[in-house]
Subunit: 261 residues, 2 copies
């Protein structure tokens, strides 16, 4: 009888990204691993789903003979939906982990992130989920230093659960193992991207715009993920999908008094 925990691994950088390889290596030392990940890079896909086109699933051996793995033609969220409903239809998934993302998903980046949206989709389905991101966007980023911390957190989650939440947004500073100060549980920091579109012309002389920009920290607190990362901690933000702005409910109540026209 197999008593190993069942861990679903996904990401948004695609099944061939070094980040997911590192995450699979960690997960494999802990439990039974099944991978369902996009067949192309899906950074910035947010919570996109594919509704107007069919989806494909293809078996891959990228992670070795021991690991059941599929690439999916859709988005990160599609991958999780197919994993739960097709690949692992009759199984109980103990934990879903997404990443390791090449680059930060702290602060406002969570809403653009395919990595976090995949983890959130699993959380929505009732599965404890963790999205992992390393603060190095390069394809050949070094994930080795982060691995022991990721292992600790996965083991913690499997043994203790995640308290009253279902989803953690975990960002890891790009530092040597010994220089990382440990884990900091914190809120999502306030920040914004200030865009600076590159305007140019294509070879046919037609104008185009290419998105680029700069992240601006708008948070002076020390209890948020931006602060934690700048100070050498791994940030852990318990996250959810209830977007209600609760404090605003009262302010707006008077809208109900608008008379019928």
């Amino acid at each position: 009888m197999n008593k190993k925990p069942l861990i679903l691994v996904t990401n948004d950088d695609g099944y061939y990204a070094p980040g997911i390889k590192a995450l699979v290596e960690v997960a494999q030392s802990i439990g039974e691993v099944v991978v369902v990940a996009p067949d192309s890079a899906q950074s910035g896909q947010g919570h996109a789903i594919t509704i107007k086109d069919p989806l494909r699933l293809s078996k891959i051996d990228t992670f070795g003979a021991d690991i059941i793995a599929y690439k999916c033609s859709g988005t990160p969220v599609d991958s999780v939906k197919l994993a739960k409903n097709i690949v692992l239809k009759d199984r109980t998934i103990d934990l879903c982990i997404s990443g390791i993302n090449h680059g930060a998903n702290s602060s406002i980046n969570i809403i653009y992130s395919g990595t976090m949206s995949a983890a959130m989709e699993a959380a929505l389905e009732g599965i404890n989920s963790i999205g992992f991101s390393l603060l190095d966007y390069k394809f050949d980023a070094n994930f080795e230093e982060a691995k022991p911390y990721i292992k600790q957190l996965i083991e913690y989650a499997l043994e203790n659960g995640l308290g009253s939440t279902k989803l953690l947004n975990v960002n890891i500073p790009n530092l040597p193992y010994a220089e990382i100060k440990g884990f900091k549980v914190c809120r999502q920091g306030k920040g914004v991207w200030v865009e600076d579109f590159v305007e140019s012309e294509d070879p046919r002389g037609e104008k185009y715009y290419w998105l680029t920009g700069k992240f601006i920290n708008q948070d002076q607190g020390e209890d948020n993920d931006i602060w934690a990362l700048e100070n050498g901690y791994i940030s852990i933000v318990p996250s959810h999908h209830d977007l209600t702005d609760y404090p605003a409910l009262k302010d707006l109540k008077q809208v109900e008094n608008i008379a019928h026209v």
Copy 2:
């Protein structure tokens, strides 16, 4: 001097959808309208952005000679970024309205919705924003009954602001004008989609999966958008982009005590 408020209109169903035409007609009776909307249907695109490809903006005359309008090759969120940073670079946008979406964006649908993500992007940029959705997904849905209510709400927002919030998720029941009971300010209802993928084979004999499913209401309360809509009200959920699960912060604090390996 032009003292009319400047209203940016966008959507996720594409610039040619009847829903955006209806919204432009309402906005035009109130202020100066500028449209920047996707050039193709983008339902389910969530907060996706385009980072690996250039974006195109093309002037269109779909809304008549008086209205500056562009179609954008990207996602709803891209459209808002281009509107703010390129089309209306030196202008102050008084309100961003998104929709009218063909179909509901209440409850959990907000996280998949391009309509709401476009509005949220504007809110992130500091612009008061409202996403409007009609509970009829059909292309030829009847938006006429909803128009007087939408006008009231836009006028209210321009005159009074949105209190402490920047973003409203507004869903409108598919009922005749006189049967709509008015506005209800409420929280996001708890619900989930239960998937039921259609499995079939394409003409070449290759297997595909097509996403479909059923929305399940998991909320027994009467203070949420699902209840409001089922009872004939227009639901208004003040919304934001802080995904922190605040009550969970305390439960998880012990994670900080995991010893270094």
